[in-house]
Each structure stands twice: as C-alpha cells, then as structure tokens.
C-alpha cells in the first residue's frame, strides 16, 4: 500500500515536472521552408476540380439516419408479433432518398486539375517539374537509429559527399526523402520521416548549401529500401535518400 502511494507521488511529481518543462522550444537554427506557391491557402473553390464528368455512386449518408434501409424501406410495428398492420402506416418512418457519393474524377485519362490562376501548388518545394535522378547519390543515403532523427556521426561523410556534389554542380537541386521502418505507427512515421528529411536538409545548410536548392519530402514507411520484416531490413529503411533534380530543358 505504501509502495502504491509512493509510486503515485512519483507519478504526480513526474507529471508536474513535465508540465513545467513542457516540450522543447524551437531552437534558433531551425529553418523555415519556402512556401510552394504564393498565398499558401487559396480561397475556397480556387482548387476545385471539374466535377462534370464524375459518376455518382449510390450510398447512404454516414451515421444513423433514415436512409439505411435504402429507397422505399419502412419499419412498422408488428401486431402481436404475427400480423402485418394495415395500410394506416402505424409508426412507420418516412425514408429520405439517399445522397449519392461522388468520387473525385480520375486523373490518369483526364485533363489535369485546374488550379485557378494556373499556378499549380508544389508541396515538394520550389522545383516542380524538374527531372529527378535517384542513382547519382544512391550510395550516400544516410541511416538513422530506431525512432531517432539525429544525424549519426557515421553518416556525416556521406552528407559531406552530397554537399560536395551540389557545390560541383551549381545548377542542380536536391530532394531529401525521409523514410522510416515499419515498426512505428503510420501517423507517427509520417512525421518522423519528415523530421529526418529536415535533419538532412539542416545539415546540408550547415555545410553551406543554399536552402533554396533543397526540397524535402516524407514517405513515412511506404517506400522501404528492403521489404523484409527483420532487423537488417529495418536498419536499411530508416534513411534519407538524396535525389538530384535538374531543370527541364526549355
């Protein structure tokens, strides 16, 4: 009993300590990312897709509602469990016609999405439409410890090689792609992959590379380098890949 009380006190203390300290505040060396398009969020409708050619899918509304029985369905009280009541309707509920679901239009064989004023947004960074080459720096992918996004000292020479390549080829840009192994939850891994991509980006900036030449993206756990389900595969999957981007020929 005493032990329980003591551990409760300890828990309370730990909670208070964490409350006071909170999460870490942002250090000054975190760099802001360039907005892909001017005016980050367009007014509603600016990115609206053309829905004229979509096929409505029949489906009831979500949640408990009168539509669940489909068109023409009714519920009526049973008279003594046997007879069906007459045409007076009893307690039957009127059923509203269900709302169709309309899927987004397919984009493979269709015209591209219209983006209002024609400036397509580019969450990747500022190098939309550039040619991507994943071979050039494929040996420079850097690895991370489980659940960490700090650059390991063993990986610094690869980052130096990436920086050297960028210095030697001043017209190219690079995309840092952050990846995770499958052992995290998917929502968490998307954020962790982003943190890893940003760690790579920050390190390159420290080595003197202009941040405007560096895009970043997180793939979470969806782009494993090794599809195995073991320690060796996971170690290869916790990584940043460096993709060289070259401007398209005019």
């Amino acid at each position: 009993m005493k032990l329980t009380k003591f551990s409760n006190l300890f828990l309370l203390g730990a909670t208070l300590a964490m409350t006071v300290n909170g999460c870490k505040t942002k250090p000054p060396n975190v760099t802001y990312l360039p907005d892909p398009a001017k005016g980050p969020i367009k007014p509603p409708g600016a990115f609206q897709e053309d829905v004229k050619n979509t096929t409505p899918l029949p489906n009831p509304n979500p949640g408990r509602n009168p539509n669940g029985l489909g068109n023409g369905g009714t519920v009526q009280p049973l008279d003594n469990g046997s007879k069906i009541p007459g045409g007076d309707g009893g307690n039957s509920k009127p059923l509203v016609e269900s709302t169709p679901i309309v899927a987004a239009p397919p984009t493979t064989n269709a015209a591209p999405i219209e983006f209002g004023n024609g400036t397509a947004p580019n969450p990747l960074g500022t190098h939309d439409g550039w040619n991507a080459n994943s071979d050039i720096l494929k040996d420079q992918s850097i690895l991370f410890e489980f659940d960490k996004s700090a650059i390991q000292s063993s990986e610094q020479s690869k980052l130096a090689a990436v920086a050297d390549y960028l210095r030697s080829n001043p017209t190219v840009a690079v995309r840092v792609e952050g990846n995770c192994d499958e052992r995290g939850t998917s929502g968490y891994n998307l954020s962790l992959g982003e943190r890893r991509a940003l760690a790579g980006r920050e390190y390159l900036i420290k080595l003197g590379i202009d941040g405007a030449r560096i895009d970043n993206i997180t793939w979470g756990e969806t782009h494993p380098a090794d599809t195995g389900h073991n320690d060796a595969a996971w170690a290869k999957n916790r990584r940043d890949d460096f993709i060289i981007l070259t401007a398209p020929k005019p």
Binding site: L11, T15, M18, T19, N21, G22, C23, K24, T25, K26, V30, T31, Y32, L33, P34, P40, I41, P43, G45, F47, E49, V51, T54, L57, N59, P62, G63, R64, L69, G70, N71, G73, T74, V75, P77, L78, N80, I101, A103, A104, T107, T108, N122, P123, L124, G125, R183, T185, S186, G187, L190, S191, E194, R195, L198, I217, T218, W219, T222, H229
Partner: protein, 404 residues
C-alpha cells in the same frame, strides 16, 4: 455484475406482473477509472431464432460487435425471434434465461417490428440497432460508415464503406499515395492526405458533389487533418516552420496558428468533443508521450498514460476517454485512458484506433503477413471482429476513420 443481478430481478418481476414493455437499461458507465469500463464487462447474453442466411449473419455480427453474445435459450437474458422471408419480422423479449416460457408465462415484448425494404442487409442492420437501443439505451452503430486507406506502398486510395466493410467504394483514384482520412462530423465530406501533387498535402472532398479542393499545401509536410465537432476548425500537422508541428485553422484556411512550436515531431492531432482541447502524439524530454494543448494556444501538457511510446490518440465522442496505440518493440496495443490522464488499459493487439459515435466501439488495424486488416473492438467486453474484406484490391486496409 451485482447491479445487473438486482436489475434482472426487478425486470423479471415487472415482466411477471404484465406491465408495459420494458425499456431495459444496461448498467450505466461509471466515471472515475478505466477499471469500470474498458475490458471489464460481461457480454449481454441473447438467443437468436428464426433468422436465416444473410439476415442471420448480419444480426450475429452486429450484435457481437456491440457487446452481445449468443447463448442457448435457457441461459440467454434476451430472446430475439423472427423470420426473414422478404420482410424481416422480429420480436425481442427479456427472458431472464427462462427460454420465453418460464413460470411467469410469455415474457413481455420489448420490440415487435416488421422491416420492409429491398436490401436485406440494411433491414438486419436496422433491427440490430433497434435491439441495442432497447437493451442498452444507447444508439447502435450498425448503420454507420467508415473511411480508410486501401493499398500499401507507393499506391493507395481512400475508400468508404459500411462499418462492417460491406459496400466499399473508392473515393479517390489518383494512383498516388494517400493517408489519414478524416470525416467532417455529421457531413458527407472527408479531409485526407494525398501525394497527388508531389508531397503530402491535405485535400477536402465533398462526397455529395465530388467537389475537391487542396486545403493545405505549405512547404514540407501537410497531413493528419482533424475536424472539430462543429466543423468550423481543422487541426493538422504542418512542417513549414522546419519541424512537424500541430497547427489549427478555420475551415476556410484562415487564422492559421502553430500550437506546438517545438523542434520535435508531433503527429495525429484529435479534438475534445467540446472543441477546447487538442490531444496529439508528441515528445516530452525526448520520450514519446501523449500531450494536449488548448485549441486557442497555450502550454503543452503531457497526458499521463503509464504506457510506452503512445501515439495516434482519438478522443471519445462522449469526452470521457482517449484511445491510442502503445508501441513496445515491433508490437502495438490498443489502449484506453481517461481523458484527464491516468493508468491506461491495454485491450488488444493493434494500432490506429478510431472511436465509433457510441463511444463504445473502436475500429483499428491489425497486421497480418505484411498486410493490414481493419478490425472492430467492443471496448467494454473486448470482443473483436475483423471487418470483412471483399475484393483483391483491398489486400491491405489501414488508417480507419469512423463517421460520427
């Protein structure tokens, strides 16, 4: 259990005296700890007779998911009898395990209805919900819907389906990667993450009209949208400040605010039903923790769970509980903790939970041979049923969101 026993006595005497049909109630959910709720309840024993084929299958599935268990007529507390020749006729009685023919004679009827309509599944779902409402006093979830990610690796699409996986429909066909679908409460609309434009950006998709717009496409990551119950505010993860943070903005994208200006990576924000708080997965002193922050900004407060590596929180619609994933090594558990924090209870192996509108059921993800399967959990009884998988395309389904 004692309560239930006394209640059974009272109910039986009422039935014996031939009073009006009973509005039987399950014992109320007690506040004050998970011990009284999560994984501690006995299932409600029911006997089904007279139903066949798909109607019988649906009834059994739905009632099991919502905390019932089939028993022999002698031992069941409730008897659901009927038929399904075209129409579905059903009668529910409280039998106290008397098999419907005890000394007191034919027990009073709690429900006697005829369900008419072209879709037998829909009729059976409605009947299951009516039974649940009569017995527990709480709306069932048999007519609700889910959204989820289908597919894995570099190609996946957003789907919606009935809560049991039937009537699945593809919402996107972008041949891109998607993530984190989220219903707008009470609306036929979703937010989700898509790589359609390159990196992860957030789309709003009106399912009634097909209108789709890019809701957030700042530099870096845009993901994990969560909508407040009134639909007016959206929480999400953006990394435009150089680190993934929880942001909140109005539904039109205005009044954007960084609620967690940390260097750490935050993920999976969710709203308290009153719209005051946002709970998310963050880090405290390098250790992963659930945290909450006022939706208007303020200090980040850790939420004690006493569980390792928590992530993916979801706040129950009644405000009382937070369900989340705890990770240990490569394994995951679905856990429930009081919304104020405390000792969480681990219920079942799985991840990425989402509450049903009844604050009782949870849909979550199981890993199986490299694929992911959606599964339904009844939190009080720990009863679990896998969501039916209907087509080859859906070999891997994950990231469910329950419409509520």
């Amino acid at each position: 259990m004692k309560k239930l026993f006394y209640f059974a006595l009272i109910a039986a005497s009422l039935a014996a005296s031939g009073s009006l049909p009973l509005q039987a109630q399950e014992q109320p959910i007690e506040i004050g700890g998970t011990a009284s709720f999560s994984g501690t309840r006995k299932p409600i024993l029911i006997h089904l007779s007279g139903f066949t084929g798909e109607v019988a299958e649906v009834l059994k599935f739905d009632l099991y998911v919502m905390g019932f268990k089939e028993e022999t007529s002698e031992n069941a507390l409730y008897e659901l009898s009927g038929s399904n020749n075209g129409d579905v006729k059903a009668e529910l009685r409280f039998t106290r395990g008397g098999g419907g023919a005890g000394a007191a004679g034919r027990p009073a009827s709690l429900l006697a209805q005829i369900y008419t309509g072209p879709n037998a599944r829909a009729l059976a779902h409605r009947l299951a919900d009516d039974v649940v409402l009569k017995v527990t006093g709480i709306n069932g979830i048999a007519e609700t819907h889910i959204a989820y990610k289908s597919g894995s690796g570099r190609t996946s699409e957003i789907y919606i389906a009935d809560f049991d996986g039937h009537n699945a429909q593809e919402v996107t066909h972008d041949h891109s990667d998607v993530a984190a679908p989220c219903w707008v409460p009470g609306r036929m609309a979703l937010y989700y993450t898509s790589y359609k434009l390159g990196g992860p950006s957030i789309f709003y998709h009106n399912l009634s009209t097909g209108e789709r717009r890019n809701f957030a496409h700042y530099g870096g990551m845009n993901s994990a949208a969560a909508v407040s119950r009134d639909g007016r505010r959206v929480a999400m993860i953006l990394s435009k400040t150089g680190s993934p943070d929880v942001f909140v903005c109005d539904a039109d994208g205005s009044n954007l605010k960084d609620l967690t200006p940390t260097r750490e990576d935050e993920s999976s924000p969710c709203w308290s039903p009153d719209g005051q708080w946002i709970c998310f997965a963050g880090k405290v002193k390098e250790r992963r923790a659930l945290c909450k922050v006022s939706a208007n900004g303020g200090p980040i407060r850790p939420l004690e769970t006493a569980m390792g590596s928590p992530s993916e929180p979801d706040w129950s619609p009644d405000g009382k509980w937070i369900v989340f994933t705890s990770q240990h090594g490569g394994n995951f558990d679905i856990c429930v903790v009081p919304a104020a924090g405390g000792a969480a209870v681990a219920l079942v192996s799985g991840e990425d939970p989402s509450w049903a509108p009844n604050s009782r059921n949870v849909i979550f993800v199981k890993r199986s041979n490299g694929n992911r399967v959606l599964s339904l959990l009844d939190v009080p009884t720990k009863q679990v049923k896998d969501v039916t998988r209907l087509s080859g395309r859906e070999s891997s389904n994950s990231q469910p969101s329950w419409a509520r």
